[in-house]
């Protein structure tokens, strides 16, 4: 293993971060809601993914099919976005501080809900991730499943780009993001758009959590830990920008991997130096739109 191995590890971390932040970006981009609970939704996907997949394997699901069980769990649990959007809709017209308070309180609620159902000990899936073996690239070894997660993140980015840019529904979402009133006047059902976007954003987070968990584990604390890293990603990339989420995730993932090799003491610092630099020199982020 060499530089390639470190790069691959950095890209894998970036992929996990992108899956986490893409939902956050989508929701902010259209609804202007900063969902602090995105990490908790990611954790929920991971917990449900572990339980459902363990159950499915015990029921005779062939091991090679385990990613399908995880995907199904992530998709189904993503439907929690429907009632959550109803809840959040109560503060659409209120100041932004209400959004932060409400979504922060959701973090605490989720933490206790997860504790109630899964207990306080960290959970992990049996080592099924190694069922597909490892891939070797110029001497660098990585579990094939990790490569699958990277490809999934790329597919998600491409799929979201296509959806937002090429489909009628995507155009409606973008139009609503640009001007809610004008879109409503043109016949767009803004209420439905918001419901759809929030549920889609939630599903991106829950699917991300479910798909990444076989490579690691999940704990109650992860919802809070991840949201801090997610905000580093979106500050660098630009709030509300999908390209920004991809670029920010890649920068954070690679910076962290490089710092661990070159000077591990600055692993955390390195990321936040970049965040500070972006805030000072380009406050809107690399791909964000400057406030008018």
């Amino acid at each position: 293993m060499s530089l390639i191995g470190i790069l691959m590890a950095g890209v894998f971390h970036a992929a996990a971060l992108f899956l986490l932040t893409s939902g956050l970006q989508l929701v902010f981009g259209v609804q202007r809601i900063v969902n602090l609970a995105c990490g908790s939704l990611y954790a929920l996907g991971a917990y449900v993914g572990i339980s459902f997949t363990t159950w499915a394997l015990a029921q005779g699901l062939p091991v090679p099919m385990f990613p399908l069980a995880l995907l199904a769990a992530g998709l189904v649990v993503g439907l929690i976005g429907l009632p959550l959007e109803r809840l959040i809709s109560t503060i659409y017209k209120r100041p932004e501080s209400f959004q932060l308070l409400l979504t922060f309180s959701l973090i605490l609620v989720f933490q206790d809900v997860l504790r109630f159902f899964w207990g306080a000990n960290p959970q992990q899936l049996a080592n099924v991730a190694m069922h597909y073996g490892s891939v070797s690239l110029w001497g660098a070894q990585m579990p094939a499943y990790n490569v699958f997660v990277i490809l999934l993140a790329i597919a998600t980015a491409v799929g979201l780009g296509w959806f937002l840019g090429r489909t009628t529904l995507g155009k409606m979402l973008r139009a609503t993001a640009e001007n809610r009133e004008a879109s409503a006047a043109m016949g767009v059902n803004v209420r439905m758009v918001y419901l759809l976007v929030f549920t889609l954003g939630t599903t991106l987070s829950t699917v991300g959590g479910a798909m990444v968990v076989p490579t690691a584990a999940v704990s109650l604390q992860i919802g809070v830990d991840l949201v801090v890293e997610a905000f580093a990603v979106i500050v660098i990339g630009g709030l509300g920008s999908m390209k920004g989420a991809a670029a920010g995730a890649l920068i954070v993932g690679l910076i962290r991997a490089a710092a661990l090799v070159l000077y591990p003491e600055v692993e955390v610092l390195a990321t936040y130096v970049i965040v500070l630099a972006v805030l000072v020199f380009k406050p809107s982020g690399l791909f964000g739109k400057a406030a008018v």
Partner: protein
């Protein structure tokens, strides 16, 4: 005449009635009354999160030993009642500690896993004159400042002891193949102290080595992919990790998944907390694996430990680790202290300071073996480590042969500075 006789009798009856009321209210015969009340012991331990398995092991041992003691009339004739509180952040835990002292009016407090919590708690314990026996949380730094001459606080063995022993075992088993050395440890005092201990002992024994990478991870990190990639790139011969929470099995699984466990040796002084989570599929044989003060599968274990392990396995479908031993030791030490102080007071119930003064020098039988309390309120116990093997009936490794050292050999003496002692002491490998 009869009236005259009747009056004193009425007065006498009134006095008897008043005396009975006073007796019932506890104002008379205080020692006898105290001995009829349950003996309340507050327990502070984490019940969830990354340290949940540690706290759980201690609480279960407390419950087991309290049931046994209560079946034999408790301690000093008083049945024991446990009041359990959660250990979380230092601030929150101190609030709960105060509740135990002021509201629940416990007789003593046992428990605590985290060094950060124990250091924050110790001054509060001394101030409230509450007898406090710490199961763990005994990393060196800050101890002198926060509890210079403790009267009421008793500490478990120094946390660095496990690292001293595993470093000596690493030299014994890996000498000659330990040139490129790497560390991945939690980024807090314990992680840093154990790594410094390991490298200091290598230097002390003249082991020519190169530190190829030092990785510091946040406690409880559940994704170590980048750290593992860095370790793999550094091509170490030996990796030292004192990670001991739920992050340890995650690390080993990720290390195994990139082939890091194939050609590299591991030294894990405190992996015993995670023993059952360290599955054979990703934890290789030949790892220096520490179980601290109790190893559940020790063939030379006492009948007491064997009975406890059987009970634990039957009840919880799990195997106990050293925190069970620490909790059991603290309770036995407290019992011995109370009994010694009771004897000194001819049976009347002793105060907290009298019990505290009776405890130094006491020797008790703990689950892991004989243990004692030093004059400086730090315990002496046996430590169990060894190289892992897969030759067993479990799905996790056990020890191929059990190495035992006493903390009398590998713990700094009373009043000494740990680092100076480490430098000047002659250890046997």
């Amino acid at each position: 005449m009869s009236d005259n006789l009747n009056l004193p009798r009425r007065k006498a009856l009134k006095k008897i009635g008043a005396g009975m009321a006073l007796g019932a209210s506890g104002l008379l015969s205080a020692p006898a009354f105290a001995q009829n009340k349950p003996l309340k012991i507050g327990v502070i331990a984490p019940r969830g999160g990354i340290a949940g398995t540690a706290g759980e092991g201690g609480i279960r041992a407390m419950e087991w030993s309290v049931a046994k003691l209560n079946a034999m009339n408790g301690i000093g004739g008083r049945k024991i009642e446990l009041v359990i509180q959660e250990e979380t952040s230092p601030k929150e835990t101190i609030d709960r500690y105060r509740k135990l002292v002021l509201q629940d009016r416990v007789d003593a407090v046992h428990g605590v896993i985290s060094s950060g919590v124990s250091l924050a708690l110790a001054p509060a314990a001394e101030q409230s004159q509450m007898l406090t026996l710490l199961w763990d949380g005994t990393t060196q730094d800050g101890v002198k400042e926060m509890m210079p001459n403790p009267k009421y606080v008793f500490r478990a063995i120094d946390n660095e002891v496990d690292a001293v022993m595993s470093s000596l075992l690493a030299i014994r088993h890996f000498k000659g193949s330990m040139v490129r050395v790497a560390g991945i440890n939690a980024d807090y005092t314990y992680g840093r102290n154990t790594w410094t201990t390991f490298t200091a002992i290598l230097k002390k024994f003249g082991i020519a080595h190169e530190v190829v990478t030092e990785q510091w991870v946040k406690v409880g990190t559940m994704d170590l992919t980048s750290n593992v990639a860095t370790l793999k790139t550094a091509k170490p011969d030996v990796i030292f990790t004192s990670m001991l929470f739920a992050d340890l099995p995650v690390f080993m699984r990720q290390a195994h998944n990139v082939g890091l466990t194939e050609n590299c040796k591991f030294v894990m002084p405190a992996a015993g907390w995670q023993q059952t989570a360290m599955k054979k599929e990703f934890t290789p044989e030949g790892v220096v694996f520490g179980h601290s003060t109790m190893y559940f599968d020790n063939p030379a274990a006492s009948p007491l430990q064997k009975e406890f392990v059987r009970w634990y396995a039957d009840k919880y479908k799990d195997y106990p680790h050293w925190e069970s031993d620490r909790a059991y030791f603290c309770l036995q030490l407290y019992k011995a202290g109370v009994e010694r102080a009771l004897a000194a007071k001819s049976g009347s119930w002793p105060s907290s300071i009298e019990i505290a003064m009776a405890m130094p020098g006491l020797k008790v039988e703990s689950l892991g073996g004989p243990a004692s309390m030093r004059a400086d309120h730090i315990a002496n116990q046996l430590i169990f480590q060894g190289l892992t093997t897969h030759k067993n009936a479990y799905d996790f490794p056990t020890l191929a042969s059990v190495e035992t050292m006493s903390t009398e050999q590998i713990q700094k003496p009373a009043g000494a500075d740990f680092w100076q002692w480490l430098e000047s002491t002659k250890f046997k490998v």
